[in-house]
């Protein structure tokens, strides 16, 4: 048996949560295997058993501080089913949508400006002392301020719809607990044009970067994959509601307009012993071929069109790059994400001008049910919440498939591709190891969400030989 070494990147930086990467090298220094391990543990499915169902949207959102709104709304949508609220009032649905677009907007802005922009602006090999948000603030102060102000705007939207910027109570089973006052509306309307302008700018940065570096990025952790997202009945991108659509790498439909309540007939999860994160797959294709990508790239790929003009124009341009076929370039996630930022800003503008938000009809109820599923397109991809409730109103079963979990296989593939290309047979440098993280960051993973704990993510890389001896270690 030949000599082998192992490189451990732990923890991975500039993503949400804790994880590590292990890279196995053979005696010739060739990468033989690379894996992203999620080392956090989530217990929420167990915590909420026995708790009353109306508490769940407020409880489960606490598994994350970055996109709690997504969990709040997914759980509320599941509880809508439980209380028989098949169609919400226009005020309730639009308030929730406004909350959700605010959430997408702030989360994408956080990721692009704070976590990713150092890689794009300074290059993968730049000095890590500069390649960080402080470096961005020093060299591109206007851009850094934009990022902060865009995130703030999204958070303000969440505050006026959910009651608080983080962990609010707005969505309740069957509706919403408040409308949007004229004063709240006007305070947001006065800044919307500026926000749209900044969104255009962010989109341009992401697009130009991708196009200018296309030769390198086309093969940077890229691979053909299936894509999955919710889709509106008419085929439009819909981040709040719709049926499930899955396509393959060529754009062929695997399934379409699947009712959210039937997700379990189409999606299953596999457990592996080296990660706390499960591996979801489409049942009809099995574990080997049924894995898929979710998130901005998948959503832009699956949508027939986007129903806001500027984002649609951007989508057409995005799809033209790959001749109208699905884009499978991992780093194109950033471009797709910024298309969604512009889409969200346009949606926010339209909603703020909709008088339904000042309505007073907030909650509906119908025939009580014992089981409900809530699906939503969270910033990082399709989010599944599934609950069963007994006759005494207590939760008896909960299952969450969070976006990052769906991207588990793709992230592992991206890590392996990048590791094999850049780390084989060469001295391991910080810049090369950063490439592994760059590939992971493209997915904007929320590792704390995916298994559920709290935390941030600094990085240590350790090279270990086959006897467990540490050969090399690098930290950031």
């Amino acid at each position: 048996m030949g000599e082998t070494s192992k490189i451990i990147i732990e923890p991975v930086t500039r993503v949400e949560g804790h994880g590590k990467v292990s890279i196995l090298l053979d005696e010739n220094g060739q990468v033989t295997r690379a894996r992203l391990h999620i080392v956090e543990f989530r217990g929420f499915e167990r915590f909420i058993q026995g708790r009353p169902y109306w508490e769940v949207p407020v409880t489960v959102q606490r598994l994350c501080g970055i996109c709690p709104v997504s969990h709040h709304l997914a759980a509320a949508k599941a509880m809508d089913v439980i209380v028989g609220a098949d169609k919400l009032t226009p005020t309730a649905e639009k308030m929730r949508r406004l909350m959700h677009y605010g959430q997408i907007y702030q989360s994408h802005a956080l990721h692009f400006f704070h976590l990713v922009s150092p890689d794009l602006l300074f290059g993968f090999d730049a000095d890590p002392a500069v390649r960080n948000i402080i470096g961005v603030i020093k060299k591109y102060p206007e851009l850094a301020v934009q990022g902060v102000m865009m995130r703030k705007y999204g958070q303000e939207i969440i505050k006026v719809t959910a009651g608080k910027k983080i962990h609010g109570t707005g969505a309740i089973p069957g509706g919403i607990n408040k409308n949007l006052s004229i004063a709240e509306r006007d305070s947001l309307l006065k800044d919307i044009d500026q926000q749209i302008e900044w969104s255009r700018g962010a989109l341009k940065i992401a697009k130009d970067y991708t196009v200018e570096h296309l030769d390198e990025l086309s093969d940077f952790g890229s691979f053909n994959s299936n894509h999955l997202s919710l889709i509106r009945a008419d085929g439009a991108m819909d981040l709040y509601d719709g049926g499930l659509r899955a396509i393959d790498a060529e754009g062929n439909r695997i399934f379409d307009h699947v009712d959210s309540q039937d997700y379990i007939d189409y999606i299953a999860e596999e457990v592996k012993d080296w990660s706390y994160m499960k591996f979801p797959f489409m049942k009809q294709l099995g574990t080997d071929k049924g894995w898929y990508r979710v998130g901005p790239l998948a959503r832009v790929n699956t949508a027939d069109f986007i129903d806001t003009p500027e984002a649609e124009e951007a989508r057409v341009e995005f799809m033209a790059l790959t001749g109208g076929k699905p884009n499978n370039i991992t780093m194109a996630y950033h471009w797709a994400r910024m298309i969604e930022v512009l889409h969200s800003a346009e949606k926010i503008r339209d909603l703020l001008n909709d008088t339904d938000l000042q309505g007073d009809d907030l909650v509906v109820k119908g025939e009580r049910r014992s089981e409900g599923v809530g699906l939503i397109e969270a910033p990082r991809g399709t989010l599944f919440h599934h609950y069963r409730v007994n006759e005494d109103d207590q939760v008896t079963m909960a299952n969450l498939i969070v976006s990052t979990t769906s991207n588990n296989v793709p992230m592992n593939l991206a890590v392996e591709k990048v590791a094999k290309k850049y780390l084989s047979g060469t001295e391991v440098t910080e810049g090369l190891l950063n490439r592994v993280e760059v590939a992971i960051r493209a997915y904007d993973p929320c590792l704390s969400c995916a298994t559920h704990a709290l935390g941030k993510m600094p990085l240590t890389v350790t090279v270990v030989d086959h006897n467990g001896q540490v050969i090399n270690r690098r930290s950031t």
Binding site: P52, G163, N177, D392
Partner: protein, 240 residues
């Protein structure tokens, strides 16, 4: 002979009626004394000790101690408020009070009292005692994790509802509220409209399916701190 008497509280002369408790007289004068088990519609009980004041340098519960002419009462002192804060902290660590997602948050007297007394974090270790919930009643939900054993439900059921639904069982750390039933809450004659349900100061007894209906910012204590309703009388008394 007049039944009016005078005493001083925190240096302020208060006119009271013979037979009133210190708390009742102070309330009328617009001077708030912190409390938890006391309730305006219930008989004096003196259980939680949060309303402890110094009467002529001796500790007494303001909810049970009658006024007497010339008595000197101290309430708003650093020492007393520290003791009150200590009691509230003990209640927090003995139960499982997760304010961030509790549906009573913003309307909870324990939480509001913690804020009023400046409780930042309990100085005692959390006990994480295991408590049950009873969701058997179609309209009422009981969460013993949040019960502070104030006996408002026990007393309200007897004194106001004319029933005997709730009672304490066990002693010391094992003390808990039990139901007058061989099975669970659904086996009692409790009704969701009972005062026993309404008068729970915390999130232990709740009306089902009404959670979070009031948005953050509009809840009882979001803009009106605990005791401010009583203290607003002080201005009215002065103006009058």
């Amino acid at each position: 002979m007049s039944d009016k008497i005078k005493f001083t509280m925190d240096g302020v002369e208060i006119e009271a009626t013979q037979g009133q408790t210190i708390m009742q007289a102070a309330d009328e004068a617009g001077m708030y004394i912190p409390r938890l088990c006391a309730h305006k519609d219930l008989l004096p009980f003196g259980s939680c000790r949060v309303c402890t004041v110094m009467v002529n340098d001796r500790p007494q519960t303001a909810c049970t101690q009658p006024v007497s002419p010339g008595m000197s009462v101290e309430s708003e002192t650093e020492e007393l408020n520290d003791i009150r804060r200590s009691i509230v902290e003990m209640l927090f660590v003995e139960g499982n009070h997760y304010c961030p997602f509790c549906e009573k948050s913003g309307n909870c007297e324990l939480q509001a009292l913690g804020y009023r007394l400046g409780m930042l974090a309990p100085r005692y270790p959390y006990m994480f005692n295991k408590h049950d919930v009873d969701a058997s009643h179609p309209d009422i939900y009981i969460d013993h994790n949040r019960c502070i054993l104030c006996a408002r439900c026990v007393r309200s059921s007897k004194e106001l509802d004319g029933k005997n639904v709730f009672q304490f069982v066990g002693r010391g750390i094992h003390k808990r509220v039990a139901f007058n039933s061989d099975t669970d809450l659904s086996g009692t004659d409790v009704s969701v409209t009972d005062k026993a349900i309404e008068n729970c100061p915390v999130g232990a007894i709740l009306k089902k399916r009404s959670a979070y209906a009031v948005p953050i910012g509009k809840r009882k204590y979001d803009s009106q701190p605990l005791g401010s309703d009583i203290e607003s009388r002080k201005a009215a008394v002065k103006q009058g």
